[in-house]
């Protein structure tokens, strides 16, 4: 793209947005250059690592027909806007921005490059026809973890390391608690907020605090292996789960199962759509059924009957016969949320800023 084209950007935007709604790419592209913007290093073993695996899967699927470029450690904010602009200028046809904090920069840059497709992970703003959003239903995996936690706890105390008090995390906590409670009515949930997505030292402190309170099953919403490392020091007294990636190094215990973010199916599908001309704006939210949320192997540290139940739960969610938020469910203050047999609408989940009944403590604000 030449300088002139950028300067024309303002005028071109009005024109393109007029067309944008009707115009889907009638013809596919010969070759696609796909850009990936990462918030962490690709070696983080969790969130960014899994996105990069997805990017590599795109390369594998289409070979010479795609070129992938990526940038690690991009701070959320002003720097992200520059990185996105430079990627668009370098001729990327589609750019995946893989962290929530890229939401405003993604939409701002998308306005300037109506011909480039932008895909923003975990956000909700699609201000322009060339912005799509995608996320995964991680709460489905939390249901399986909650079931295992409720069955496995000996102290009846289970823990959750929260990253940030946002709907994404809170729906995970609620799903985890509901399914633990279902199989173990005496279960109590302790929540520690780490206020980070990735900080091994803070995550280890959070895990220690939980273990000191007598918690013996820990789920975490942060990306490092530090909580598992802490659990490993207890000689099998405390178990936990892999988060974002399988964290197989801690098999068979303390890591008894995991939630694996698998972005490959979505990335392959979207780049493929650009190649064959079927690309259209989307708001994707797939779960276990779509392959985006995988339940990592449940190890032998879990008794066979519990393992079978957990796998049956996973399969019923995948088959669509069971929704993890099925009424009756009350909110923490006792007011009714879902009536008997009702399932949670997506809108409620995406704005979820309340705990369900039975969880103690307050959401920090």
């Amino acid at each position: 793209m030449k300088r002139r084209t950028i300067l024309k950007g303002g005028a071109a935007l009005g024109f393109a947005s007029m067309l944008g709604g009707k115009m889907s790419l009638a013809q596919g592209l010969e070759k696609v250059k796909a850009g990936f913007v990462y918030v962490g290093p690709i070696g983080d073993g969790g969130w960014t690592y899994q996105h990069h695996q997805g990017a590599l899967a795109v390369q594998e699927a289409y070979g010479d027909k795609v070129e992938i470029v990526w940038q690690e450690n991009v701070p959320e904010g002003a720097d992200a806007e520059r990185v996105l602009t430079q990627m668009a200028l370098s001729g990327c046809n589609i750019i995946f921005t893989t962290s929530f904090g890229y939401m405003d920069p993604t939409n701002a840059v998308a306005a300037k490059f109506p011909d480039v497709k932008f895909e923003h992970a975990t956000g909700f703003k699609r201000e322009h026809p060339n912005v799509s959003t995608y996320n995964a239903r991680f709460y489905e995996g939390r249901a399986v973890q909650g079931h295992i936690a409720g069955k496995m706890t000996k102290t009846n105390k289970i823990g959750y390391i929260g990253s940030f008090p946002i709907p994404e995390v809170i729906m995970g906590i609620n799903s985890y608690y509901l399914h633990a409670k279902k199989v173990n009515p005496n279960v109590e949930l302790s929540i520690v907020w780490a206020f980070t997505w990735f900080d091994p030292a803070k995550e280890a402190d959070a895990a220690k605090a939980l273990i000191d309170q007598g918690v013996d099953v820990i789920a975490s919403h942060t990306d490092s292996t530090a909580p598992l490392a802490e659990a490993a020091k207890t000689n099998g007294a405390v178990i936990g789960f892999g988060q974002a990636s399988d964290m197989a190094d801690y098999k068979p215990s303390p890591r008894v199962s995991s939630i694996i973010d698998n972005w490959a199916p979505y990335y392959v599908k979207r780049v493929g759509a650009l190649l064959d001309g079927s690309y259209a704006q989307a708001d994707a939210w797939e779960g276990i059924a779509g392959g985006e949320v995988e339940i990592g192997e449940i190890t032998d540290a879990v008794p066979a009957d519990v393992k079978a139940e957990a796998e049956a739960l996973r399969d019923s969610i995948a088959a669509g016969t069971y929704h993890p938020f099925t009424g009756p469910i009350n909110k923490q203050d006792g007011s009714a949320w879902l009536a008997e047999g009702a399932t949670a609408p997506d809108g409620d989940l995406l704005g979820m800023m309340f705990y369900v009944e039975g969880i103690t403590g307050e959401i920090p604000s």
């Binding site: 030449k2 909700f124 920090p364």
Partner: protein, 362 residues
């Protein structure tokens, strides 16, 4: 035999030649590192230093971005350099930068949705005040209790980061943001925005302030009695005392000025390029500015150039990272080399390298 001989007075030539030499050495060592990573070193160096300025695909966008990136670095570094010259070490500009942004954004958001022209100037004043206030803590502790301002100012950065996290999750959180952390986007509120003043130039109020501060600092150091006192206190503390310099007053002034400027930089950033208070709002300008201050020889004009050079390595580094697939860590190592070589060759300013043994030289 190689040996060092102290110069009677620092060499004026090397004082200006060492930054250039450091850049050249960085290019060579960086090139070797890139080659070891399996990348073409010439291409990598060209992408970092040449492409942001002259590549026709990028330059029209990247050149103005240099100013956007260099603005806060220069603004903070000039403030720090005054203290550094007087031997007063404010290492906590990052924290003062955060507090400036918080105070400024806080005042603006408290007035939301007032739409009058004086909101932005008021926010600037609040931002300056916030940075100044945060710098006064180590300054007063030093003058009153003789604590070490290096440690106190540095540790206050971590306090500021926690205040920032608390503010973006609580008091300043966008009530219409669906529960997500982070404030309203100030850049999208006309009364609070710090926009690009002339489209396509990258110029915003923060960049203009940076240029003005460079000129003001130059005049201060050349013509004003305070500038003389600062230089004297750094070079000869005892003589300064005899000349009537009050060291405590100097500490308060230098810490105050550098805090105020860091606070201003934070305010201009949060209302402009960054747009909102968020948990990861600070990206290290306050620490990088220390490098910029020394790279620019603690001289306002030098800092101007050093800030632009540092911005170039950031923007060029980003280009090299995704164009050539260089890991982010390699770019950071490259920037680290710059400071390393600068400190290493600084030796030449104060020492002469002599060949042969001492006897022969005598």
């Amino acid at each position: 035999m190689l040996r060092l001989e102290k110069r009677p007075s620092p060499s004026a030539f090397w004082q200006w030649a060492t930054p250039v030499l450091a850049v050249v050495l960085t290019m060579i060592a960086g090139g070797i590192m890139f080659a070891l990573l399996g990348k073409n070193p010439v291409e990598a160096i060209r992408t970092i230093f040449w492409d942001p300025l002259f590549n026709e695909q990028f330059a029209a966008y990247s050149r103005p971005q240099l100013l956007v990136k260099a603005g806060p670095l220069i603004l903070i570094a000039v403030g720090l350099s005054l203290g550094f010259r007087a031997g007063i070490w404010n290492i906590g500009a990052e924290g003062q930068y955060i507090m400036g942004a918080l105070f400024g954004a806080g005042v603006g958001l408290a007035l939301y949705p007032v739409e009058t022209r004086w909101v932005f100037p008021l926010m600037v004043v609040a931002g300056i005040f916030g940075g100044w206030l945060w710098a006064m803590i180590p300054a007063i502790l030093k003058t009153r209790f003789n604590t070490n301002e290096i440690l106190v100012s540095l540790l206050l950065v971590y306090v500021a980061q926690n205040v920032l996290a608390s503010m973006s999750l609580g008091l300043l959180r966008n009530p219409e943001g669906g529960g997500f952390p982070g404030s309203r986007n100030l850049g999208q509120i006309p009364a609070m925005a710090n926009p690009e003043l002339i489209p396509g130039t990258g110029m915003h109020w923060g960049v203009i302030a940076a240029f003005m501060v460079v000129i003001a600092a130059y005049i201060l150091l050349q013509r004003h009695i305070l500038g003389f006192q600062i230089k004297l206190a750094g070079q000869a503390p005892r003589a300064a005392r005899f000349a009537g310099v009050n060291p405590q007053r100097l500490v308060l002034l230098c810490m105050g000025i550098s805090g105020a400027l860091a606070g201003a930089a934070g305010l201009f950033e949060v209302t402009g390029p960054s747009g909102q208070i968020s948990i990861d709002f600070n990206v290290g300008y306050g620490f990088t500015a220390i490098i910029v201050a020394f790279l620019g020889r603690l001289n306002p004009i030098g800092i101007l150039l050093a800030g632009l050079l540092m911005a170039l390595t950031y923007i060029g580094g980003e280009l090299a990272s995704f164009m050539l697939g260089l890991p982010a860590a390699a770019i950071q190592a490259f920037q680290g080399m710059l400071l390393f070589f600068l400190l290493a060759v600084d030796l030449l300013t104060n020492f002469r390298i002599r060949f042969g043994t001492r006897k022969e030289a005598l």
